[in-house]
Subunit: 246 residues, 2 copies
């Protein structure tokens, strides 16, 4: 890893930590050798990161990665784990319904399509992974707005002005809140051609064990092929995911 950024010490520190991650445990000399750093420099860097619990020293003086690093990983690890756990379940859901299944996460005032299992039919709905959409035009987004509460939802409406995408887009704050809050209570939300004409969705939220929203799960299909019964399947998968996430 010879990436170089603007701060030398940080690059070197990353090199040391990477070296340490690749071997579980190492002596100062080994680490200095692996990174090409002067032992004195490696020592100083290790002492600095050790002071923050990022590395610990075992009885024989060897260095190991410490538990202090896990506080940063929790969130991102959780997302990776969720993705991994979700993928097979999403594929199964795609096979049951024949339609595209999306795993969607929130970023600011948008949802991001994070993972998907694409329908195998000729006519199908397909979002690019990484693509984005405003909260109020997607089924998942509406659930997330509702979950954030009336106040936050209204603030969102004011902030964005609820731009219309189709004639069906909910562009009135009160209508949006009504629709969203009802969906939240019900447990699943619809998108009736609110983002794109001819396309309909059903979505549910995936939560962690403390009830915090991690992501949304949705099925996107041509409007006339969408079946309301799929809500049940979605809820079951979401429940299973919630259970599997610590």
């Amino acid at each position: 890893m010879n990436d170089t950024s603007s701060i030398q010490v940080i690059d070197r520190m990353v090199a040391v930590l990477d070296a340490l991650a690749s071997v579980d445990k190492a002596s100062l000399k080994q680490l200095a050798g692996m990174t090409g750093l002067h032992p004195s420099t490696a020592h100083r860097i290790l002492a600095a990161v050790a002071a923050h619990g990022w590395v610990v020293r075992s009885a024989d003086g060897g260095y190991q990665l410490g538990s202090g690093l896990s506080r940063y990983a929790r969130r991102t690890d959780q997302q990776d784990r969720l993705r991994q756990l979700a993928l097979p379940l999403m594929a199964a859901l795609r096979d049951q319904t024949g339609e595209t299944v999306n795993l969607v996460m929130r970023d600011g005032d948008e949802v991001v399509y994070t993972e998907r299992a694409v329908s195998r039919q000729m006519m199908r709905v397909e979002q690019m992974i990484g693509s984005r959409a405003p909260l109020h035009v997607t089924a998942v987004g509406k659930l997330m707005l509702a979950d954030a509460g009336r106040e936050a939802c209204m603030a969102y409406a004011e902030r964005t002005g609820l731009p219309g995408f189709t004639v069906h887009t909910l562009t009135s704050p009160t209508l949006l809140w009504q629709d969203a809050s009802r969906a939240l209570v019900r447990g699943y939300a619809f998108d009736n051609e609110e983002a794109e004409s001819g396309i309909g969705c059903i979505a549910v939220l995936v939560r962690d064990s403390e009830g915090r929203v991690l992501a949304g799960l949705s099925i996107s299909a041509p409007r006339e092929r969408r079946r309301d019964e799929w809500a049940g399947n979605l809820l079951e998968v979401a429940g299973r995911l919630s259970g599997q996430m610590g």
Copy 2:
């Protein structure tokens, strides 16, 4: 967190990452405010860590912790998770057998007692958490030696000289290898007063899904109370733990 180590930038970087970890997402100005750093400094530090994937920028320019950090956390997180998962199972095992159950990890040429469920009987075996013992005098240690292979076991024997702790300690390299390798095949190992007179153990290994050894699980009891049947219980718990560890 005003810990100060020997390297200023690293302290500041930790402060920035901690701030970021506490809020999920933040702007440059917010982070500079939270850490008391000059925006310019915060910006440079963020750019440096971003170059290594430690933080990422979302669509609206906000900073978030990135997945680049998870590579460091995997190992230590795994240990924490194992401990958490093991504790209730260990308590159940303690209640079934009435004896002390230990979760033991390897560190160099020693095993470390990491977690335990202590027997409630008047006469019981009790190791301090964090205490250590050489590999060849413990049941878990012998399994780990065998798992590392004949060569590594012999190297260990040469390196340490297999110091004797009791008259029962295996101080001959070939006897040690025989005993250990047989135990590995069988799936569980005994310690017949090899570490301390009057104390006997049974132990098994806990592995991850790829078969790597994560830890050992042992029951320690006064020699005459030890029951060979406990091996079955231990194996069942170890298997369940292996299954629950990704």
